[in-house]
């Protein structure tokens, strides 16, 4: 076999993953991805092995629920044929491999730096001298924004090339948020330390990243955390989606100067995040999810409380939504603004909500389900226009859907108090991979144990890694004044990308 197929959240010996020569590796993986839009690259990255680098490619197959793994060992001075030449979605993965290890590619559009990590292969590359795309013309001008933005948000630099008010091209430079998270996973081997690192990958996606991390850690340790933990994680994931989507709807109203919507959606987020605090002591869900454990079992009392919160929320949410979706002044800003076509989404490998708003059905909850999702029979919400309006609609619909899921869960609260102690030392030489549908989309955590059962390699992929390109494409030919709503309609993560 040219690849081995595993199920989501499972571990296997690294030795059982087929090791191919690069030519075969290239052919196998590109042909897998070319054939079917349901097969997409979940991760493609390098694992250092002394002087050489082991490339690992994981193709998620949405139809079968499998993940196809293959590896290839290459040397750092080798020049490889770029997969991005065939499958553009691999573009950023290859840039990352180039930046981390110095491996070069032929046929790659432009091997630009991704995030200027502290351990980059070429230390002479400086974040202050990023090679922006530019156009020489008397007609055009450039607008630079950031890294520090006008609001209270994370840093990143946007460079627009404009013709008058119209955006011809946007390039997004990231890396300012780089904290060296992946390296810290190896320096800090404690179970608690590692899950805290996972909590901080993107502090607005705590449930998503801690669930993925816990599943990887448990797969490597061969421990099942039990149905109570699975229930809590599913509940946390859906509540997180509701809370953030609600906040995003407030922000979108702010960006079209609709004060009432901004205030009402903004305050509606509060009871949801406060429920996280009632449940686990922190408004963002930090401390709630732990590998091997159900730290804060979901009690029937919490269920009664949540049920009341949702009833009150739903009334006000529906009233406000009905108003917003019938408001011509808001709709005229949303409709046909920031359009991304399905073809473009497919070619850049968009995932999650950003893919579903443009007709691409990608949702780990239905394609690679785990936790309580199989019993919820989740059906992805899909919109087709790819504009800001679709992204507002999908939030409203996903809030309704998550509320429905949560209410279903509330009828099945498990009566278990099991708790397992997770061993710090795991089986040696094993690889584990977890895909979790966070509110932004597909989160991928991939870990490898060393000869002594310690973590030897940890790789994180936030959905934003794919989706930043969707924003850059969305704003083309739009007025620069529409950039804020385009940006907010995606609400991508800087720290999740920069790691």
């Amino acid at each position: 076999m040219d690849f081995i197929s595993i199920k989501n959240n499972s571990a296997l010996p690294l030795a059982s993953v087929p090791e191919l020569d690069y030519h075969t590796f290239f052919e196998v993986n590109t042909s897998l991805m070319r054939g079917d839009p349901g097969r997409h690259c979940a991760t493609l990255h390098g694992i250092p092995e002394k002087e050489r680098v082991r490339l690992l490619c994981a193709i998620a197959d949405d139809a079968t629920g499998e993940i196809h793994l293959s590896t290839s060992v290459v040397s750092r001075d080798q020049v490889l044929r770029s997969m991005a030449g065939e499958v553009p979605a691999c573009e950023r993965f290859e840039r990352e491999i180039h930046e981390n290890f110095g491996i070069s590619y032929t046929g790659h559009p432009w091997l630009k730096p991704v995030r200027y990590p502290f351990d980059r292969a070429d230390r002479s590359q400086e974040i202050a001298s990023y090679p922006f795309y530019s156009m020489e013309s008397d007609e055009l001008h450039e607008v630079g924004v950031g890294p520090i933005h006008a609001g209270v948000i994370e840093p990143g630099h946007f460079r627009f090339i404009c013709n008058g008010e119209q955006i011809l091209h946007l390039e997004i430079q990231l890396g300012f948020q780089h904290r060296g998270v992946e390296a810290l996973f190896l320096r800090q081997q404690g179970v608690l330390q590692q899950v805290m690192l996972a909590e901080g990958i993107a502090g607005d996606t705590v449930a998503g990243h801690t669930t993925a991390h816990s599943m990887v850690r448990e797969a490597l340790a061969g421990v099942d955390a039990g149905e109570g933990a699975a229930f809590s994680r599913t509940m946390a994931l859906e509540l997180e989606r509701m809370a953030i989507h609600t906040g995003d709807m407030a922000a979108l109203c702010t960006d079209v100067a609709y004060q009432l919507g901004s205030a009402v959606f903004g305050r509606l987020r509060t009871p949801l995040v406060n429920f996280f605090q009632e449940w686990g002591g922190n408004r963002l869900g930090k401390g709630l999810i732990r590998p091997g454990r159900n730290q804060f079992p979901f009690t029937p009392q919490l269920g009664t409380r949540l049920s009341a919160i949702l009833d009150a929320y739903e009334r006000d949410f529906e009233e406000m939504s009905a108003m917003l979706f019938n408001l011509p002044s808001a709709l005229s800003r949303f409709e046909r603004t920031g359009v991304v076509s399905r073809e473009d989404l497919l070619s850049i490998g968009a995932v999650g909500m950003a893919a579903r708003m443009g007709g691409l059905t990608r949702d780990i909850r239905s394609s690679h389900p785990s936790l309580w999702y199989p019993s919820l029979a989740h059906q992805p919400v899909v919109k087709h226009h790819g504009d800001v309006y679709s992204r507002v609609q999908i939030r409203r619909d996903e809030i309704r859907q998550s509320m429905h899921h949560v209410r279903q869960l509330l009828e099945q609260i498990p009566d278990t108090v099991e708790s397992r102690i997770l061993p710090e030392i795991m089986a040696p030489g094993r690889l584990a991979l977890s895909l979790v549908e966070g509110w932004r989309g597909e989160i991928c955590h991939c870990a490898l144990t060393g000869p002594h059962g310690e973590l030897r390699h940890y790789k994180v992929k936030d959905p934003s890694f794919h989706n930043w390109m969707a924003l850059a494409l969305a704003v083309r030919n739009n007025e620069i004044s529409d950039f804020p709503i385009c940006n907010k309609s995606f609400n991508l993560s800087y720290c999740g990308h920069d790691l």
Binding site: F118, V152, Q177, G180, G203, D204, V273, G281, R283, D498
Partner: protein, 251 residues
């Protein structure tokens, strides 16, 4: 249309928190911890802490390093208890250290506040926020501090877009090497007199990222912070009370 608007307004009821200094927060909020005199194996307790915020003998917790994960209280409930006290801001770094057998609030020491802070910033405080590798949780809570419930702007405290309009910077995140220069440029653009506020565990000590080679924390050594706001992330009430205490509490 106008009646629908009024109906929505009416349905919201009263949302703002009348007294942000005394309101009780819901649930099991992990705020200021209290350490009892109960004898325990201090070494075992300290070894639990993911960031080394706990010392063994005597048992202390440094809230500047604490990530409020609650593991110590979970395993040693008779020794450590997290209260719902959200007053966790101070201008004196040592005050963030909670000691065994003590149950006293974390406070701003008004005698150590620069005079111009009271004189010039006591009624109106404009701040430039800089996220320097923050994980977007502290940023999130700073934004929440200005929603209709917490409504920080009623006190004349606001976040502004330009450092030229600001009276200081609020830093979140452990400060990455890649953000060190932009932060410095932003700070220099703020006119004097100006304050430096570190919001959240990551900003105060580096938190779980402390010691990472991807950080550059020289800024915190170069400029003495005027306020430390503890929390992971800090609760909006911690933020508001901290800023009010700093600028309005007279010695």
């Amino acid at each position: 249309m106008i009646f629908d608007n009024l109906k929505i307004l009416f349905h919201q009821g009263k949302q703002y928190i009348p007294d942000v200094t005394t309101v009780e927060v819901p649930g099991i909020f992990r705020g200021r911890p209290v350490i009892s005199r109960e004898p325990v194996d201090g070494e075992q307790l300290a070894a639990l802490c993911p960031t080394g915020a706990l010392t063994a003998s005597p048992v202390t917790i440094d809230l500047g390093k604490c990530t409020f994960c609650g593991e110590c209280a979970h395993r040693f409930p008779e020794k450590v208890r997290f209260t719902k006290d959200y007053h966790l801001s101070t201008n004196v770094r040592e005050r963030l250290v909670i000691r065994e057998g003590e149950d006293r609030p974390v406070e701003v020491d008004p005698t150590q506040v620069r005079r111009e802070v009271h004189r010039l910033l006591g009624r109106s405080l404009k701040l430039r926020q800089v996220s320097a590798a923050g994980d977007n949780s502290a940023e999130w809570e700073l934004n929440a501090a200005n929603n209709v419930q917490f409504d920080m702007s009623r006190f004349g405290i606001e976040f502004v877009a330009s450092p030229r309009h600001a009276d200081g910077v609020v830093i979140t995140g452990p400060i990455s090497e890649n953000m060190a220069e932009p932060l410095q440029i932003c700070y220099e653009a703020v006119p004097e007199p100006k304050i430096v506020v570190l919001a959240g565990t990551d900003a105060i000590s580096g938190g779980i990222y402390a010691g990472s080679p991807a950080l550059n924390r020289n800024f915190t050594e170069r400029y003495a912070p005027d306020l430390y706001i503890a929390g992971n992330p800090p609760h909006p009430l911690t933020v508001i009370n901290g800023l009010l205490d700093l600028t309005r509490k007279k010695g």
